[in-house]
């Protein structure tokens, strides 16, 4: 990758995060926004906690930007240039800053990953991707701190200690989980965090019980919420076309031919301009789907759109995604789950975690993966008590492991002609 790609991605992300902060303060005013951001830091964050519903658009946007900025600073201080995976991670972190991540609940996890790296003589840059995506367990930190009615100092210490322990275990789990699906589940940290979350939830349930928590899902309409992703998408497409011209279109076509298996850095494999157009297209199609089914653009939905846009630089494109999405939609309809209800909405967006299966093994297997994914993801959230924000990555990882094991068995055992 040319250094200019790193510089351009930095500019894009800084403008994006600045736009979130500006939109946040303009939406709710400075005082109310800051009060809301403070409120979010001490609020339980398990699924589904729509921060827009809890503290307003302004607070949710500013909190998301702060989470994204934390990721950007971590990348910067690790000495790693921005590219497909780091761009995906920062956009994902920002997206989940709208429904679960806060600067306060992600920092202990990052510290834990750092300690783990130091134990085995590695540098933070070696585990950077794990640290960034591992923040999916932010709600575990919040749960330990704020859901057991502890006095402030013990609550704070419980959260920090739990987060550090969590982060410490993530690198070992993440590498093992990769082997389960062989890189065909893009959100591998979703599977890893879900796996760890099973044990964490068992421990918490063993010593007590989670605090009963209502689900938060913002349902009002807002022009700002509806237009943010489409406008951002159009700007990215324009940037790609302006910087790449006709070559960008060729690169976009090349991207559509990549299976997308981990790790597929489209910026390296094609070009930044082609990747920007791909990101914009994924954002536009995702937004169009939300408009068509008549769903609200709220924290989880916008967070989901940010995530799939991020991964459009790191494995996802329209060609490898649509069979999986079609599988999810078909399963939703056949099982009587309304397409505009929270579970299926998020499943459609995040099921693109299985896009590499479609890209490598074809549309029918991709469709099947999507179908199974919907059935799985409707169950898995309760397994980890909603503490793993990447619940679709968890369900997707299990689905991918099943499909890959069957394909591997078949290919390994059938008699060669």
């Amino acid at each position: 990758m040319m250094p200019t790609s790193n510089r351009m991605l930095q500019i894009i992300l800084l403008l994006f995060l600045s736009a979130l902060i500006l939109a946040g303060f303009l939406s709710d005013g400075i005082r109310e926004t800051i009060q809301g951001v403070v409120e979010l830091q001490i609020h339980p964050a398990r699924l589904i906690s729509d921060f827009i519903d809890i503290a307003g658009i302004g607070a949710a946007f500013v909190n998301a930007a702060l989470v994204g900025l934390t990721g950007l600073l971590l990348v910067r201080f690790s000495g790693i240039g921005l590219s497909g995976p780091t761009f995906a991670a920062i956009l994902t972190m920002t997206g989940f800053g709208l429904f679960g991540k806060t600067p306060l609940n992600i920092l202990p996890i990052i510290a834990g990953v750092y300690l783990s790296a130091r134990l085995v003589g590695k540098r933070m840059k070696d585990y950077l991707i794990i640290a960034l995506f591992g923040t999916a367990l932010g709600p575990l930190v919040s749960a330990l701190a704020w859901e057991f009615s502890l006095p402030l100092l013990p609550a704070f210490l419980a959260g920090i200690t739990g987060g550090i322990i969590t982060g410490f275990f993530l690198p070992s789990i993440a590498v093992s989980m990769l082997h389960l699906h062989q890189g065909y589940n893009l959100y591998n940290m979703g599977l890893s965090c879900g796996f760890f979350g099973l044990f964490a939830a068992a421990v918490i349930r063993g010593f007590g019980q989670f605090k009963a928590m209502p689900s938060h899902w913002f349902v009002e309409s807002s022009l700002l919420l509806e237009l943010f992703v489409p406008v951002f998408s159009v700007l990215l497409i324009s940037a790609g076309l302006i910087t790449g011209g006709k070559q960008a279109i060729k690169d976009l076509k090349e991207i559509q031919s990549i299976p997308g298996r981990l790790p597929s850095d489209f910026v390296d494999m094609a070009s930044l301009s082609g990747t920007l157009i791909n990101i914009g297209l994924v954002g536009l199609f995702g937004s169009a789907y939300i408009f068509i089914i008549g769903a609200s653009f709220n924290g989880p939905v916008i967070g989901g759109l940010f995530t799939i846009m991020g991964f459009a630089a790191f494995g996802t494109h329209l060609k490898n995604s649509w069979p999986v999405v079609a599988g999810v939609i078909t399963a939703s309809l056949l099982t009587g789950n309304p397409l505009n209800s929270p579970g299926p909405i998020l499943a459609v967006l995040f099921s693109t975690t299985l896009a590499p299966i479609s890209g490598e093994f074809g549309r029918i297997i991709g469709f099947t993966a999507g179908f199974i994914h919907l059935l799985m993801v409707m169950q898995t959230g309760s397994w980890h008590g909603g503490m793993n924000l990447y619940n679709n990555g968890f369900a997707g990882g299990l689905t991918a492991a099943l499909i890959i094991s069957v394909i591997q068995w078949y290919k390994s055992n059938r008699t060669e002609m």
């Binding site: 990758m1 690790s78 790693i80 995976p85 780091t86 590695k122 540098r123 840059k125 070696d126 585990y127 950077l128 991707i129 794990i130 690198p171 993440a174 590498v175 990769l178 082997h179 062989q182 890189g183 299976p259 298996r261 981990l262 790790p263 850095d265 390296d268 490598e360 890959i404 394909i407 591997q408 290919k411």
Partner: protein, 127 residues
């Protein structure tokens, strides 16, 4: 990663790549020193110039520590699907790809932080 594990994985990934072309011959040679090693793979399958150029580019791609330490664990291990030499390229110091008859000779040089390339006479890059 332990040196032995790394060597096994690199040989596995390279073998997977070579065997995809159904060669009649594949030779793997390993020369190990204290702080580095030289792995040579020779085959007799037909390779186009474009294939060799792509191979050379992939093996000598820029280093990606943030990907190598994490996704690099799949090297030579998760072999379902097409081989992925980029995973391998991130973990080696240098490689050379040269045509040998119809086949190819791939030289890979690896080393720890104390690796001294002069021990292995790494060819200088052509201007």
């Amino acid at each position: 990663m332990k040196r032995k594990d790394l060597i096994i994985k690199l040989i596995g990934e390279m073998s997977s790549y070579i065997l995809d072309e159904n060669p009649m011959k594949m030779v793997i040679s390993l020369h190990q020193e204290e702080d580095g090693l030289h792995l040579a793979i020779i085959d007799d399958a037909k390779h186009s110039d474009a294939d060799l150029e792509k191979l050379d580019k992939t093996l000598n791609s820029r280093k990606r520590p943030e990907l190598a330490a994490y996704y690099g664990a799949m090297t030579g291990h998760d072999l379902l699907g097409s081989s992925r030499l980029d995973l391998l390229g991130w973990q080696i110091k240098h490689s050379d790809v040269v045509r040998m008859g119809e086949g190819v000779k791939i030289d890979l040089w690896l080393g720890g932080d104390r690796f001294d390339s002069r021990q292995f006479n790494i060819p200088e890059k052509k201007e």
